[in-house]
Structures are given as C-alpha cells and as structure tokens.
C-alpha cells in the first residue's frame, strides 16, 4: 500500500491544518443530519492539500456516496443518469442520504463534457442530495457560475511545520531513522503539497533503515514541472546567455521543454515580428528533434537546446517588464480531453485497416469519405457489418444509430419508380433494383405515393442493398432485369409476380 493511502487520515481530527474548513464541513454534515438542505459545498485549493480526503471523510457520515472525477466523461446525460440512479434509491430519511462527490469540477471540458455544468446546476437546484465538489483553480471560468450557488470553502496549503511533524510520525512508524533537516528540506520542497511530500519520503525511505541528506539527491533530481516553468520563464524573460544556458540544465525531455516554451512565447512576447522570429527558432529546434529521433543520433539535441533557449530568448527586442501568466501547453489538455475520442478513432482504424490491408494513418485519411458513406442507412449497415463495428464505433461516422433493417421500404422503392419514368436510359438498371425491392414489399403497398418526401440521400444506398441481394441470386436477377428491360415502369404487378415465382 502506498504511504499516501496508508497514512490517509481516518477521521477529521487527523486532518492536518485547515481547522476552519473542517468545522464548516462538519457543520454542513450536521445540517443534513437534522433534515436541513444546506447549499452544496465547493472545496477549492491547490493539489495535495486534502480536498479529496475531506470529501471522503464526509462520505463516511452518510449512508452511501458516489464519486465522479475528471477521468470520467461528464456530459449532461451521463451526470444526470449516474446521479439520477443514485438519487432514485435515496429516501427522505437521513440514513438513506447519498453523498455525491464531484472531483475536479474545474476540469469539466467545454465540448467533450457538453452541458456538464448545466447538469450540475440542475442537481443543485433540485437540492435533494448532499453534494460536495472540488476544484483546484479558484479563478476558473468554468466554476464561476457554480460558486454563487455553493458554500465555498478554501482549503489552504499545509504549513511546513505540520508536514514535518507528519513525516516524522511516518518515519517512526516505519522504523526509519532520520535527520531532522532532511525532513525539513522535504517539507519545504513540497510547497504545501502534503501528498507529494509523503510520496517523496516513500521514494527515499521505503525499505531502508535510515535516511540521510545523501538520499535527498534522489528527490532533487526528480525535477517537477515548477522547475521547468522556471526555465521557461528565464528563456522568455532574460537575454543573458549565461543564465539561459543555466536554465536549460533541467531534467526533462527536450520535446516537453520545447512544447512549454512554444506555448508561452505568445503569452510573453507582444510584437508580431518577435513571435515570428521566436517561432522560426522553435521550428528549427523541432527539426533537429525529429532528426535525432529518426537517425538515433542524439547529438542533434544540442542544436535543439540552443535554438529553443538562446534562439528564442534573443528573438525579443527588449525584455518585458510585466507579469505574464504562463500555462502548461494546451496540447496536453486537448490530448487528455480527447483521449476517449482518439482511442475510438484508433480502434476503428485498426478494424478497418485489418480488412483493407492499411495502416491507421492510411485509414484515417479515408475517414471523411467513410463519414459520407455512413450517412446512408443501408450502406452504413453493410459497412458496419463488414468492418465489424459496434454501435459506439459507428458513432464515429454518424450521429444517429443505424435503423434496424426493415422488411418494407415503400418510400424508397416509390422514389425509384418515379425516377424510372424520368430516366429512360436508366430504366433497366433501376428496374433491376426495383424488382428486387418489390420482393420485400407487400404487393399492394408498392409503388408511387410518398415520392416527394423521400430524401435524396437514401436512394443510392438502396441500390447497393439491392445490388447485394442481386448478386446473391445472379441468375434470377438476370432474367428479372431482362424482363424488366422491355416493360415500362407501371407494371409493378408483373414484376412482383415474376420475382415471387423466382423466389
């Protein structure tokens, strides 16, 4: 068991710091217990300060709880359904109360989790269930509307001294000898993130008898994102070559550093020509990354490092004296938000590729065409069948489910029929299809009625569908079309007769 779990507080008393927040939460629980319906809670604070822990402790006080976090897809429907199920089982009595926990509500994504915030608002408005939500970023636009409807509780970073005390306790329990200053350094480095402090301690101390300052090396080498942001800041803020080179001494994948510099260039640089020049440097740095990867000659990395650091730094005319808010690359956010979608894409591409002897890349280039083909019900059914795609996978190409194969399709056949009249030269081909179609149709229902309303798109599909059938019984078809050739359209009856006889 990870130490972060093992030493997770078992009750509110064991939670470090945030005394006021604890009181507020306990009051809130008590209110529910006496039958009141207080506003939902919104716990806001940096990572590792105990938001989730507090919510889980609160959950112990209720009969049951349900939790959704950022890795769940949280669209309107999913939220309401999951929570709806939860509430359906709850009764009016307190012991039946189900606590709903929504973690990382600021991470609800605009398009992927369409309507997520709306769904939450609806649940709040109904107010039947105790609800606790958590968020990291107090300024997130996504939770702005939620804030007014909730009781906001700020969870603060844990004080260094409290962290040291806890680390000591853990060391004693685990039987690890320690030097006081080592734990102090650990606690300070964690910047109030209790979880990371415990994780670091575990890396250093697990399975050992004692820890010394030498063990700290292991930790300090593990560069976290803050250090990288410091490097990025130096590159963008400074023009001092010495300092910039220094900043590149950070343990991270150069592609990652490049991505972060790229992300923040337009946040720092204001002039267009500066952005352009910086991007030229970035582009070249990236070219060397590609060459290094392809040739496995990582000597190219040195050019990448120089171009993305000095090259980008010297692209600005003067250093800016302003505060720019730097951000992690939106690409990573997009990637994680779209993971489900991309997985689906790959899965479908693999299935299709297996049938068509092509790689994912090649198949993906054909997606737009497949999307158009899938708009057609019959063709969609045929293709889905051929590629063995399930309903979820078909959704990649069309929003609606493919309707089940019907025995009767009077609409389509009638459409065909009118065409038949118009297009004489087509008549034989159409007739063939027509004839086949009729086979499935009850005789009296057959021909021209709903012609006008038939959407254009549905036509060709039918061809194929019919075609397929036609192929299966080529001989019969052959004769059929021959008879048809001579006859003109209105003779549906005759057609049917001949067909049925063949059947």
């Amino acid at each position: 068991m990870l130490w972060t779990e093992k030493y997770n507080p078992k009750n509110f008393d064991e939670v470090l710091g945030n005394a006021k927040a604890k009181d507020e939460i306990e009051d809130w629980i008590n209110a529910w217990m006496v039958g009141e319906h207080p506003k939902p809670l919104l716990l806001v604070g940096p990572p590792g300060t105990g938001k989730t822990t507090l919510a889980h402790l609160a959950a112990q006080e209720f009969a049951d709880s349900i939790e959704l976090n950022a890795s769940d897809k949280r669209s309107y429907d999913i939220l309401l359904r999951t929570i709806g199920e939860a509430s359906a089982t709850s009764s009016l009595f307190n012991q039946g109360l189900k606590l709903i926990i929504l973690d990382e509500v600021d991470g609800i994504h605009g398009t992927d989790d369409r309507g997520g915030v709306r769904a939450i608002s609806k649940i709040i408005k109904e107010g039947h269930h105790p609800l606790i939500m958590m968020a990291n970023d107090p300024y997130s636009k996504r939770i702005k509307s939620l804030k007014t409807k909730c009781q906001v509780i700020n969870i603060k970073k844990v004080h260094t001294n409290s962290i040291i005390a806890l680390l000591k306790r853990i060391c004693i329990k685990e039987g690890v000898d320690f030097e006081e200053h080592v734990l102090r350094t650990l606690a300070k480095q964690s910047k109030g993130d209790l979880r990371s402090a415990i994780n670091d301690l575990e890396i250093m101390a697990r399975g050992k008898k004692s820890i010394t300052s030498a063990d700290l090396e292991v930790i300090s080498k593990k560069d976290d994102i803050h250090n990288i942001f410091d490097s990025v800041r130096t590159v963008l803020k400074s023009k001092n070559p010495q300092r910039i080179r220094e900043a590149m001494r950070v343990e991270a994948d150069p592609a990652f550093i490049l991505e972060l510099i790229t992300e923040n260039v337009p946040r720092e640089y204001e002039k267009k020509d500066e952005i352009e020049e910086a991007y030229e440097m970035i582009s070249q740095a990236d070219t060397y990354l590609g060459r290094a990867f392809q040739t496995r000659n990582y000597g190219y990395w040195k050019y990448t490092y120089d171009l993305m650091s000095l090259g980008v730094a010297l692209s600005k005319d003067e250093t800016y004296r302003k505060f720019a808010r730097y951000a992690n690359s939106s690409v990573y956010t997009l990637l994680s938000k779209s993971r489900a979608k991309r997985d689906l894409r790959d899965r479908v591409a693999d299935k299709i590729g297996g049938k068509t002897h092509s790689s994912r890349r090649v198949v993906r280039e054909q997606f737009p065409y497949l999307e158009m083909m899938f708009q057609d019900n019959d063709l969609a059914r045929e293709l889905a069948d051929y590629f063995n795609l399930d309903d979820a996978e078909v959704k990649l190409f069309r929003s609606r489910k493919i309707p089940k194969m019907k025995k009767t399709k009077p609409k389509k056949s009638s459409q065909k029929d009118t065409e038949n009249k118009v297009e004489k030269k087509e008549s034989s081909a159409v007739a063939k299809k027509e004839g086949k179609k009729e086979k499935e149709v009850k005789p009296q229902k057959s021909a021209p009625r709903k012609t006008k309303s038939t959407p254009k798109k549905s036509k060709p599909s039918q061809n194929k569908d019919v075609k397929k059938l036609a192929k299966e019984k080529e001989a019969s078809n052959q004769k059929n079309s021959n008879t048809k050739k001579k006859s003109s359209s209105p003779e549906d009856k005759e057609k049917q007769v001949s067909l049925f006889s063949f059947k």
Binding site: P266, K272, R296, G353, R360, V430
Partner: protein, 321 residues
C-alpha cells in the same frame, strides 16, 4: 459482404492491376520462374503497392498463400522485438504447400533505423526460405543496406485515363452513372491516387446515383480539413492565439494530419490570391514559407509545431481590402 468499393474492386491478380505497366510484366516473369528476389515497392499512396504485393503473393504461393504469407502493417508493433521475433519465427520455418514464404511489410520508411537494421539481418539469414516485399513512400528514408538487398520497383501515380477507365467499370457494376465532367473532377482531385478516386466515387454515389460534377465537388469540399480559411484569417488579423487554438483543435482533437493541413493551407492561400485578397508579393512570400514548412514536416518534424510557425508568417501580412 464486400466492404467499400476500394476493397470490393481491389484487383485480385497481377493482370488486373491498373497502371504500373512497366512493373507488372517483370513481376509476372518472377511468377513464371517460380522465384523472386526481395522486392521493394516505392511510390505515393494509392498507386497499387499493397494490391500488387497481395496479388503477387497469391499467384506466387498458390492455393496455400494465406499460410505462407505474413503481412505486418505500420499499425502493428514493429519495433526491433517484432522484427527479431515474429518475422524470425515466421521466416525460418520451411514453407508448406508453397515454394517459399513471403513477408510483406508496408510503410517501412516509418520504421526506426534500428528496426531497419534488425530487419536487414533477417533478410540475409532466411533467403532460402523466405522473400520479403517491402513498401514505402520514400525510398530515401530506407537505409542503404536494405535498398541494396532489394529489387526496387518505383510505382508512379496512375494516369488519369486509366483511373477513368477503372471508375467506369466500377460505376457500371454498381449501377451508377457518372458524367464525363464528374470523372474529370475526380481524376483532378485524386492526383493519381486510385484509392482516393474510388472513395470519392462511392461517397458521391451516396448523394445521388447519377454522379455529377457538383456532387463530386460537394464530396471534395466535405472531405477537406475544415476551418483552414478561418485559421488563416485569424492569423492575418493578428489574432495569433485564436488561430493557434483553432489549429490545435483541428489537429489534436479532430486528428487531421499535418500533410492534409498544409495542402489545404496552400490551396486556400492560392484561392485568396486569385480572389484578390492577397497581393502578389505577399502571396509568393507565403508560398515560399509554405514550401519550407512542408519540407520540414515531411522530413519528420512535429507537424503541429511547424504549422504554428507557419501561422506566424501570416501575422506580418495584410489582407488587401
């Protein structure tokens, strides 16, 4: 069940393969002799490399071709381990019911150099039992030792007249009609790529089974990466972040490839110049840059970063009003 037309009408024999008239007769001779060296098929997408390889394998290996044919495409894990294990295990066994075994690897240019070196060794070791067919887009990305061990066949884009001929055959078999203009348009957009041509034909047929130039154009415009004009306009207006966000959305979330994007950017810029939205000097300067970044992308850089860099070139330009 026959799948999409590209699969349904994939030529099954060497005789049927369209275009590549300079290649097919030589491959037929291999079949007659009952022996073949290691082969490398190079050429752009959709010109028949895979089709030819499959047809050749069938004719060469006969009835039991499936048991003696191993196909590994680029989506399969193809690191050194695969080369060392899967290929080794397959190729060192003696063939049953066929003169030898054939291993087909496509997109070899996307394999790492290390894996290519491992492959080279396998090619040497099992010459008695197995032959390789490798396919790639650019032979320049294949290490020399592999190139020297293969008979190289350069597949060329398929001629317009040959594509039209094939499309007509398919159209007839599927009971759809296509006007001459429609076929010309398909050929124009397919750029010698038969797969694309057939896909356009089938997609057009779902709009109307009398295919016209208009339906073809509708398909083409739907198949293109969307939002490219919007991205360009944002950049021209100096709204770089807006343009960049949209570009990232299109590429990361929608999964549009860098090559598709840059082709589309080129086309949009050309169109804008024709519409008088860009002056000639701006236009030619942008083209110069598009070409530069196109090259960098194909060389193996990160397409998204390169395209973002290309967008900054639009920042300094003004639209003609």
């Amino acid at each position: 069940m026959q799948g999409p037309w590209v699969e349904k009408y994939r030529p099954q024999t060497l005789e049927e393969v369209v275009g590549q008239d300079h290649i097919i007769p030589r491959l037929k001779r291999y079949v007659e002799e009952g022996n073949m060296p290691n082969l490398m098929f190079t050429g752009p997408a959709g010109v028949g490399k895979t089709t030819t390889a499959l047809a050749l394998a069938k004719e060469m290996l006969g009835e039991y071709w499936r048991q003696n044919f191993l196909e590994l495409n680029a989506s399969d894990a193809r690191g050194i381990d695969t080369v060392r294990n899967d290929i080794k295990n397959f190729s060192r066994l003696k063939s049953v019911g066929a003169p030898f075994r054939i291993i087909f690897l496509d997109e070899v240019d996307n394999m790492t150099k290390d894996a290519q070196h491992a492959l080279r060794r396998e090619m040497e070791m099992y010459t008695k039992t197995s032959s390789f067919i490798l396919s790639c887009n650019y032979s320049s990305k294949i290490i020399d030792p592999i190139q020297s061990r293969c008979a190289i066949f350069r597949f060329t884009p398929i001629k317009g007249s040959q594509i039209i001929k094939r499309l007509k055959i398919i159209a007839e078999a599927e009971n759809v009609t296509a006007t001459a203009g429609a076929l010309e348009s398909i050929v124009y957009f397919a750029e010698g790529d038969m797969r694309r041509a057939v896909n356009i034909l089938q997609a057009s047929s779902t709009i109307d089974n009398q295919i016209t130039e208009e339906s073809v154009h509708e398909v083409i415009s739907k198949a293109k990466p969307q939002d490219v004009r919007k991205i360009i306009n944002s950049a021209l207006d100096g709204k770089f972040m807006e343009a960049r966000d949209l570009l990232r959305e299109v590429m990361v979330v929608q999964g549009t490839s860098g090559e598709d994007m840059i082709t589309q950017i080129y086309q949009e810029v050309s169109k804008m110049a024709m519409e008088g939205l860009l002056d000639q000097e701006t236009y030619i300067d942008l083209i110069e840059n598009i070409g530069k970044f196109d090259y960098r992308i194909r060389e193996g850089s990160n397409p998204r970063i390169q395209l973002e860099a290309l967008l900054t070139k639009f920042l300094l330009k003004d639209k003609e009003s």
